[in-house]
Subunit: 334 residues, 2 copies
């Protein structure tokens, strides 16, 4: 079994059925414009993040490292993923909202955002032009209304958050500029000589089954359709979770707007994959506080904000989730 | 399907059946000592190469980049894989045989070597202590006699060259130092959050079938055993290939010693995955010369040596290989 997936495609390690499945999925969901863009496959979106930093950085070695920013609270791994190899091409510079240099930059816009689920737009206000990476890992109907068919120059998605198959390590990016796409593919080549063939074939098959469901809409009860089923599950969890939070009187939750979803054709709230809790006065370190209640969370410090914030996963197993709600509702002010 | 493969293992993204299969395979083949070492899984050995550069580099940022060297001719991708992100931690420094700095270094010892199939030992002669990465991608019985059960601090293998399943992107390293292993795992986490679960499960199954064959040795004709079958194929190809080379009178071939193979329990030649040709006088650029004969090769310049050398793949499909021999035997001096 060779490294090659499709020698006719710029992204030579991607098999045709993977490409077709991804295009079909976006066509069904309507969350991204795929026309006139290059599709680059990655070993999860993590690898594509690094490939994009490489591809979007100025290649002249005389250049200073380009600044990489994201509005706080930002995904906790961006900083380390950016700085791990101490590259001369790019460097993590922190909160995009505080960026005030007249230097080139890359802004990562995660929307819906990890950790707090909010919908995001670029926030840097600089005299120089920046490059934007849209990390759209959570822009799927079970988490958020699909309000727009997004059409940005660089958009990253991942199978992990679309269907929950994190272990498959399949991510993809739509890229407008062929030179950016070529550099990304070169990065993936040097980094891992492509992407697991087994994962591609399995992911393509699963995406096919999901899309078939929507094609045969009339013969299948809509509740058995993947995104409808997943959304109902997320909605039920959020209702249960909000009940537990109210009972505890220790936390406040991010508020989300209601929007029209073009996919579900109804008004809907957001049901993010993570809950973002703010601890009330008296609790300075939310992560430690919840650790005592035997709840594992990730504290605000990791996301570039105050330690009174914590991120809680909403997408664990059903047993874990029920236990989480029970323990949360027992929380009392210290 | 979660990111986690085995929370009881340091290498948390590796599933237990993958670990067991790898250990069993080395136990059957006898090419490496696996006891008292940490097993780190990667998305092919390419990812592990980068993980190792990161893990073996001094972490103090005050430090100069550590020099990375390999004896020429060296694997053509090492240079770019080392320098792609212009890391401040490490830098490609070229031919290990020419290394004369009194500075820390990492030497990559590829044995059998890609491109030339020779068996290698470290060659740097420096006043300071170096770190050695043994890239043992081709240290399997179909390519070379298994002369020793190797017992180095850092040894890298890949499924790609063991069974030919390059598309699965499964590589592994045995590492003696737990701190090195931990840093590698951290790298893989930030780089791709682990390794494809589908590939792990399929590779484990295939390795199991291969090992079962040797367990049931008496009930199976030895020619149907994986390594015996593959070795016979390689031997036949090399005989055909040598015939074509002799007929052409344009090239000379690397000579390989005969050694005792502890796995096959016989004296055997080497049958490398690549042939390394030296063009005779009058042909200065072997790659261009062979391009005219419609033979795609990789020229010596890519491997850090003279352009009169070329690397030819011996492990293409059977049709390709036969056509290669036909075209080669038609080669004439210009």
């Amino acid at each position: 079994m060779s490294y090659l997936g499709d020698t006719n495609n710029l992204c030579w390690y991607m098999v045709p059925q993977m490409r077709d499945a991804i295009l079909r999925l976006h066509n069904v969901v309507g969350n991204a414009v795929t026309k006139d863009k290059f599709l680059v496959l990655g070993t999860g979106s993590s690898q594509l993040y690094q490939a994009l930093l490489y591809a979007l950085s100025p290649s002249e070695s005389s250049h200073r490292p380009i600044n990489v920013v994201a509005a706080a609270p930002y995904y906790s791994e961006y900083k380390d993923a950016t700085d791990i190899l101490q590259s001369r091409l790019f460097q993590w510079t922190g909160d995009a909202a505080l960026y005030d240099k007249d230097e080139p930059y890359i802004e990562v816009v995660t929307s819906p955002n990890n950790p707090d689920g909010t919908l995001r737009v670029p926030v840097v206000n600089s005299g120089v032009e920046g490059k934007i990476i849209y990390d759209l890992a959570y822009y799927w109907p079970q988490y958020t209304p699909i309000t727009d068919q997004l059409d940005h120059d660089v958009m990253v998605f991942t199978f992990s958050k679309c269907t929950g198959h994190a272990g498959s390590r399949i991510g993809w990016a739509f890229v407008k500029d062929i030179e950016v796409a070529k550099k990304m593919i070169r990065f993936v080549q040097l980094n891992s000589i492509g992407v697991s063939r087994e994962s591609q074939i399995r992911a393509a098959k699963m995406i096919g089954v999901i899309c078939d469901g929507y094609k045969n809409l009339k013969s299948i009860e809509s509740d058995h359709l993947f995104f409808d089923y997943s959304k109902r599950l997320m909605k039920e969890r959020w209702e249960k979770f909000k009940g537990a939070i109210e009972k505890s009187k220790v936390f406040t939750l991010t508020k989300y707007p209601t929007s029209y979803c073009h996919f579900n054709k109804d008004l809907s709230e957001q049901y993010p994959a993570f809950a973002w809790l703010k601890c009330l006065e008296g609790i300075k370190d939310g992560e430690s506080y919840l650790e005592k209640l035997k709840i594992r969370t990730r504290g605000g410090g990791r996301f570039g904000v105050d330690a009174k914030y914590v991120r809680v996963s909403m997408i664990g197993t059903e047993d874990e989730f029920i236990e989480l709600c029970t323990r949360l509702s027992n929380a009392k002010r210290e």
